[in-house]
């Protein structure tokens, strides 16, 4: 930990001082302010809309953080060779990956925490203004949804580290991470469609079935973490769902980082 701490801290400082983070936070805050205006205009299902917009604002800004600040933090190390200042210390490549990732986790947790405070505040203000639309509402579910968003961002960041460990440019890492994000959010639905097609007597090509099955097991199922709908409609979740989703996120992130560390171990940095 004594080796990881300095890497973690400089990664966090480098990230939190990046101007892009202020732009992302500004976008999120504008969305949360817009939440008031939208809820004031629609005058139906206000509670659900307020929760949905607030959670989406945190989720979208978190995604921008991972894609445009997080990826850059590692990619710039490789592109500009700032990695030399780290690896010229008694630090191994796997330690560099883990330390860097912990710094990124700290950055994600800090940023989403502040955005979550504003999200909660916006829901609270709207709830005060229109209390009769919040008869079925649960704060614990909103907080759980915010925690799941944070965990899904950590997982996505771990994947971006895995991609950065073997790609030669930050652009390829960005594209691969975006593909993983899109597949991660849609693979569950596509897999269900393929399964259901058997009952409807539709036979998709075996190649397609195998491809989707492979993607289903290979890519993270990010839809597990998306409980915006449950939070907006106050639909309770079972403790086992919460437990397995948390475990899934932590295990998948750990495996991705372990893979990144393994690949990076033999990477040359000319």
């Amino acid at each position: 930990m004594t080796t990881l701490w300095p890497i973690m801290l400089i990664t966090f400082k480098e990230g939190i001082r990046n101007r892009a983070i202020y732009a992302i936070s500004l976008v999120a805050l504008m969305m949360l302010v817009a939440n008031f205006l939208i809820c004031g205009m629609i005058m139906q299902e206000v509670g659900k809309v307020a929760v949905d917009i607030a959670l989406s604002a945190v989720s979208i800004s978190g995604l921008l953080l991972v894609l445009f600040v997080g990826i850059n933090l590692m990619a710039k190390d490789l592109d500009k060779r700032t990695i030399y200042m780290v690896l010229s210390r008694p630090i191994s490549r796997p330690q560099y990956i883990v330390g860097k990732f912990f710094g990124m986790v700290l950055l994600i947790v800090t940023t989403t925490f502040f955005l979550s405070v504003f999200a909660v505040l916006s829901i609270f203000m709207i709830k005060l203004s229109y209390p009769h639309y919040f008869l079925r509402f649960s704060w614990p579910l909103v907080l759980l949804a915010l925690s799941f968003i944070t965990l899904s961002l950590i997982l996505l960041s771990a994947l971006s580290f895995l991609f950065a460990s073997f790609t030669s440019s930050s652009f390829i890492t960005l594209v691969l991470t975006m593909i993983a994000y899109i597949i991660g959010h849609s693979i569950s639905d596509v897999y269900s469609l393929i399964q259901a097609s058997q009952f409807a007597d539709i036979r998709p090509a075996m190649f397609i079935v195998k491809l989707i099955q492979t993607a289903y097991y290979l890519f993270p199922n990010l839809s597990f973490f998306d409980i915006k709908m449950q939070a907006a409609h106050a639909i309770p979740l079972t403790p086992s769902y919460i437990f397995w989703t948390l475990l899934y996120g932590l295990v998948y992130s750990s495996l991705a980082i372990a893979g990144a560390a393994m690949l990076f171990r033999r990477r040359e940095l000319p």
């Binding site: 004594t2 701490w5 300095p6 030399y84």
Partner: protein
């Protein structure tokens, strides 16, 4: 102190994977307390050799050790300070934070880092800019911050890749003074340059590398006593290497 045995390194260039030989069967030893100048034209393999010593790239053949430890062992770097060519650091860190990182990552206590930071920032004339983010620094200031970073943990062996690059005459004098001070402190300095006067001023021994091959290693005083100057020796080796390549 530094021992390089039979190091060869090829690089693959382009999609067709054309091989380019960067280093060929390089043998070299640098003794404790010695200032060794690694001289060669651009693309000769100086930086490649230094990156192998820092385990940033791996040799295809051969081995290298510093203070008796294999360079692949991360603990070896606890006693080594490295300044890369044209260093680039984190934009949003200050010089103080940069040195904090360097010191702490090398195992120094917070108190020791603070003391050493004050000393070194004074030495490289960056004390007044210590709280400024590195992105606001000029090229010479970044180079000086890099020098301080390389020395923050008081290493026994110092590897400088083109330390004078981007420095004005005052900066060059400062680096020169630093090298002299390191030598006086019994440190081993291995530095590369293609500026002959720098080599002449500070080195005990010189190695000339051309096209990945170490053409000669000799004491500087011996070289200067037997020829007109280092420039003559260097040019003779360049011409000879060119002739051999054509043949």
């Amino acid at each position: 102190m530094i021992k390089i045995t039979g190091i060869s390194k090829d690089f693959k260039i382009g999609v067709g994977a054309k091989q380019v030989r960067a280093l060929e069967n390089l043998d070299l030893e640098v003794q404790k307390g010695e200032v060794f100048g690694f001289l060669g034209p651009n693309g000769a393999g100086k930086s490649t050799m230094m990156k192998i010593l820092m385990n940033l790239i791996f040799p295809d053949k051969g081995s290298a050790s510093i203070m008796g430890n294999d360079v692949r062992d991360r603990e070896t770097r606890r006693h080594v300070g490295y300044l890369p060519e044209n260093p680039y650091f984190y934009d949003y860190l200050t010089a103080e934070e940069l040195l904090w990182f360097g010191g702490r990552a090398s195992g120094l206590t917070s108190v020791a880092v603070k003391k050493r930071t004050d000393e070194l920032l004074d030495k490289v004339n960056l004390r007044s800019a210590r709280k400024r983010q590195l992105r606001t620094y000029s090229k010479g200031m970044v180079q000086r911050a890099g020098l301080a970073l390389a020395l923050v943990h008081d290493p026994e062996v110092v590897i400088f890749d083109e330390p004078m690059s981007g420095l004005d005459p005052i900066g060059r004098k400062m680096v020169g003074d630093l090298i002299v001070e390191l030598k006086a402190g019994g440190k081993t300095v291995f530095f590369s340059s293609h500026i002959l006067t720098d080599i002449e001023r500070f080195c005990d021994r010189v190695g000339i590398i051309i096209r990945g091959r170490l053409r000669m290693v000799d004491r500087l005083d011996h070289l200067l006593s037997t020829s007109v100057g280092l420039e003559d020796v260097f040019m003779k080796e360049v011409v000879q290497a060119g002739g051999e390549a054509e043949a």
